[in-house]
């Protein structure tokens, strides 16, 4: 497939999925909608995570920070500003924080970056707690006036579609190319004229804006928010997990993984809640070990490859156990002596 065909295909898939998403509130049950909502939330979060962190290989654990910032913005401003403006503001504030945070930490790579973003998230959480406690005099906030459920659903759907669309668009622009270049060899990209600093900041801010908007949209479902729930690091962890298992470098990987996980979560949660989380962990480990490209990189060839690998390994083991190998070694040594 050439470039244009690929684009058409992606657009068609996105269009079809959007249609499904739109019809859900009319066709599906109450429960389907709320499940769809969680699913869409993770589609948006992990797709946007993949957009920056996937292509540049900067492992950010700060998603929950931006999510929480969005949620708090919403809690503070919803009554004054109205729904759309609040979400936009949530995105803007999160992006702003991301730029400040990024300026401080984006020169560090790898584990340092991951650890720092995690530390920053905790710092923001504690700072918000402290601020609320000492200035506002309370910790949580109650969102008394909230929009209809369908409004929330459609908003999150729109955000998810926008995120996937954004991800598609960025991949076709210089920005996407630059992000990819940074992931492959940051210094080489620099010497080819990429202003990596700005590119990284822009990518990071984009990721944050989506997370902020999603946080703002989701917080109203909870009526009451406090730093502990909205800055919950597990929101970030889960996002990373889903993106990586799906394939953070790919466009559709995070989406596929988010859907798989929502289904898995609902079916397993009722029977054996711990098993769900355990399988999440196990899947991640298996993915990292045997499928570094994620679920989206799964092809028929992959199965074949695994099969061949296992066979070869088995053969080798058999040779070892039957003593064939030792004999061979001995033989070759004797030959050398001769």
């Amino acid at each position: 497939m050439n470039d244009r065909q690929l684009l058409t295909r992606d657009l068609l898939v996105l269009f079809g999925l959007t249609g499904w998403g739109l019809s859900l509130p009319y066709l599906g049950s109450e429960f389907m909608v709320s499940m769809g909502l969680t699913c869409l939330m993770y589609v948006a979060l992990s797709s946007s995570w993949g957009l920056f962190c996937g292509s540049t290989r900067y492992l950010s654990l700060a998603t929950s920070a931006f999510f929480g910032i969005g949620a708090y913005t919403c809690a503070m401003q919803l009554e004054q500003l109205g729904w759309v403006a609040t979400i936009a503001l949530g995105a803007a504030v999160a992006a702003g924080v991301a730029i400040v945070m990024g300026a401080a930490v984006l020169h560090l790579r790898g584990t340092y970056f991951a650890v720092l973003t995690f530390g920053m998230t905790e710092l923001i959480r504690h700072a918000v707690t402290y601020y609320e406690k000492s200035v506002t005099g309370t910790v949580g906030r109650v969102l008394a006036v909230v929009p209809e459920r369908d409004t929330i659903y459609l908003t999150v759907l729109l955000l998810a579609v926008l995120t996937v669309g954004l991800s598609m668009w960025v991949r076709r622009t210089r920005l996407g190319l630059a992000l990819m270049g940074i992931g492959a060899d940051e210094q080489r990209a620099q010497t080819l004229g990429v202003n990596t600093r700005w590119v990284k900041l822009a990518g990071f801010a984009m990721t944050a804006a989506v997370a902020g908007a999603v946080g703002a949209a989701m917080s109203v479902r909870w009526t009451y928010i406090d730093p502990h729930t909205v800055f919950n690091p597990f929101i970030g962890f889960q996002t990373v997990l889903i993106a990586l298992i799906g394939g953070a470098m790919t466009l559709w990987g995070p989406l596929i993984a988010a859907i798989v996980f929502s289904l898995l979560a609902e079916t397993l949660r009722l029977q054996a809640p711990q098993v769900y989380m355990m399988s999440l962990g196990l899947l991640l480990i298996l993915c990292v070990l045997y499928l570094p490209g994620g679920l989206a990189s799964l092809r028929w060839d992959t199965w074949k490859l695994w099969r061949d690998d296992t066979r070869a390994w088995w053969k080798e083991k058999k040779r070892e156990w039957t003593g064939e190998k030792a004999r061979e070694k001995k033989r070759s040594r004797e030959q050398r002596l001769v």
Binding site: L108, T111, A114, V115, H126, Q274, G281, L284, I285
Partner: protein, 296 residues
Amino acid sequence: MTLGAWLELIGSGLITGGVYALVALGMNLQYGLMRILNIAHGEFLMVGAYLTWMAHTSLGLNPLLMIPVAFAVLGVAGMAIHFLCFRRLVSTSPNLDIFEARGLMVAFGLMFLVQNMVSWIWGGDLRGYDFMTDPVQVGGAPVAGNKLVVFVLALLFSLGLLALLRATLLGKGVRALMQSPVGAQLVGIDTKRLHPFMFGIGLGLSGVAGCLLSMAYTISPSMGEPYTVTALIVITLGGFGSMGGALLGGLLLGVVEAIGMHYTNPSLKALLSYIVFISVLLLRPEGLFTRKTRKA
């Protein structure tokens, strides 16, 4: 404040610091030596705590007896985990950066796996038991007996590990490995054997920490994460892979927190430790106590 009160305050900070140092030991070894940032560290610590709690409440064993048991059980588990996960990672990762990132992800998976396995086996209740909580007078200041044990053992383990790494042949190999994995291979150090072994020791140490902490604190399946974070902060302060640094870092953090808490607000404490953590990472990523030797 009187001098006595000051000493008492610093003493309590030192003891908490000892706990921090103990918590950081295993993680430090794993990251410093093998570049595996074991995010699941706190979870393994929790396993140690649960084993001890179970042995104490249902079998009536003395928790102190459980120290070697916890070490052995988790040590073996660690070697198994290394064999199953990290061995393959080492061979398939194209470079150290990618290995680190993937190792981190595997550890993430382990975190989810272990935490929920424990909650599956033992349930989510808060647990605890009473052991050596009577205060002991140390230089006029009362200190809980179990905390004192924790502190003394933290010191012993840190210093022991330090001595082991400095003085023995094994230590030479390990240190060579820390400084340059390739170089170590070149001079004939068998990384294939040493890696799983050291990973096992790392986990064993977290088991010991868990065992000791279960005497002083309540335990639950979700207790792990804060300890992981503490360990991270401590090894950042001390410099990744430096045993002495971690000990000093832990003690320093304990004292600073105690004094900070006394003068300001305990609520600020969390904020304070994260600020310290982040500024150290940004300004002195090689740790507070290591001399600045940036290699060309």
